[in-house]
Assembly symmetry: C2
Homo-oligomer: 296 residues x 2
């Protein structure tokens, strides 16, 4: 299972609370509200957050966090951390620099397979990449510590900066080239233990989005599953600027991603077409089964 | 002024305390002590920390933090954060990806000037670098918020991952290619305000190293000053594996870096050659004046 939550979710109405903190007194804060965002900024979310003094644009898809923005980020991080610890997660911190060799083993080094690598070179001439995700290094690391089924299950997670060489980065903080992500990887003894943890993780995510105040607008959404399971589960938050189209059943608080939306799937999930509404949404987290792909 | 503290300082004897934390119970922790470190690991510090389950080696000079190592790191970060806030620092968080244009203005983009850049490219073909320090982007950012002398002084700091393409990376966590660094940048109205803050910052550093348990072995060390001041100040901790040579006056709790150690400097500092002992040390922080170099 890989679970992740994009941490670039906009989170507003915090300014007053933030300012109450001692070292955040407004008189002391170096940021100010601004009348204008940079001219090349087209996304409304970034415009507002720049004008409010939460973030600073370094270049397209690359934003620094100013003191207020960092406080919001840290609050989100702590909520997620609490819920990940509550389901047995152990926090660690992997590196951005990635060894080509371990990615070649899973056939994910090539730019033809993965189209958003940032790559660079050591002085020795060796290629290294900047992690866009961490299945490979985390699995390699866990191999040192899992010697038998007695060492299972294990749940490791981190908050780490991911680098993704996005072709287009015009959605402000909704799709960036450098962002903090929480990713948890679970290692289970068997399918049953895996499924149980999968459900636990799903509940933890629902709780996180409730605590973040996004619960009402966030739907557990069935999406494509890959080789190891029929579906994966996305957490989709309704927003007009969302890049995803989902089909929502409000009564059952469920949705289906357009990519798998067919009559067959509706039937499989016991949903009725006349209860379904099409909506725009943004994916703020997901969970999926990776089977033995990385561990083998 | 740029102040920085390298956070890769080894910090031991913490295992018992760490294990007392609820979600760190030893029975739960996935790491174990190991009899062997990887064969290619030559540094004693990294060997011990790998065997103790604090860090994991990804490649030469690149180490992940396992749960115990991350706990130590976070404790160090929090001590530094408290002391930086106490002298008026405001925390923010800049990006790793760096815009070539702002580094060209200060003549620090070229590989002939800065020999440890990691560079990569956006899909558009534009060059970007990975920050090895952050004077340029921080100064550019502050320009948006400092309109007149009335907006001064301002002190901004961050804990950010720095990337440095070190030719040799054989000292374990003492010299790495990717590491967390605290860097504070001060912007003052005039020389007097600058000097006053410089002294405050020096005291804050002494306090930090005392709180970290390194006070007894750490010396304020006079080093070369550059264009804007006679000396800079390093914080050097005595260690046989240190890469620096310093000349220590134990009575006055001061030292002079070999790079500026002359009879003239001794006289200037009022030190007496017969009180001085040569020692090996490792630089764990420093402070220096940058004058108007970046702000202009």
């Amino acid at each position: 299972v890989r679970l992740y939550i994009y941490l670039s979710t906009p989170y507003q109405n915090e300014r007053n609370e933030l300012l109450s903190a001692y070292y955040m007194r407004q008189s002391h804060l170096f940021t100010k509200t601004r009348k204008e965002a940079p001219k090349d900024e087209t996304a409304k979310n970034a415009k507002l957050l720049i004008r409010g003094g939460f973030i600073h644009k370094e270049m397209a898809g690359v934003y620094s966090y100013l003191p207020l923005g960092l406080r919001v980020m840290n609050k989100i991080v702590n909520i997620i951390r609490e819920e990940m610890n509550a389901i047995g997660g152990q926090e660690l911190y992997l590196t951005a620099l990635q060894d080509k060799n371990i990615w070649e083993k899973t056939n994910r080094w090539s730019d033809e397979v993965v189209d958003n690598w940032f790559k660079t070179k050591l002085k020795s001439g060796s290629d290294v990449g900047l992690g866009f995700t961490h299945e490979e290094p985390l699995t390699a690391l866990m191999k040192e510590y899992i010697q038998s089924y007695k060492d299972l299950p294990r749940y490791a997670y981190q908050f780490q900066t991911k680098f993704r060489n996005e072709e287009r980065a015009k959605s402000g903080i909704m799709r960036t080239r450098e962002f903090l992500m929480k990713d948890l990887y679970s290692f289970s003894k068997d399918a049953k233990e895996h499924e149980e943890f999968y459900e636990k993780a799903k509940k933890a995510y629902v709780k996180i989005f409730d605590r973040l105040g996004l619960g009402d607008k966030t739907y557990v959404t069935f999406a494509s599953g890959g080789s190891f399971s029929k579906y994966s589960h996305e957490f989709q938050t309704l927003t007009e600027t969302g890049e995803d189209t989902i089909y929502v059943d409000e009564k059952n608080k469920l949705a289906v991603n357009k990519e798998v939306y067919t009559d067959e799937v509706l039937k499989d999930l016991g949903l009725n077409k006349k209860d379904i509404i099409e909506k725009k949404a943004s994916e703020i987290g997901n969970i999926f089964s990776l089977g033995t792909r990385f561990s083998q």
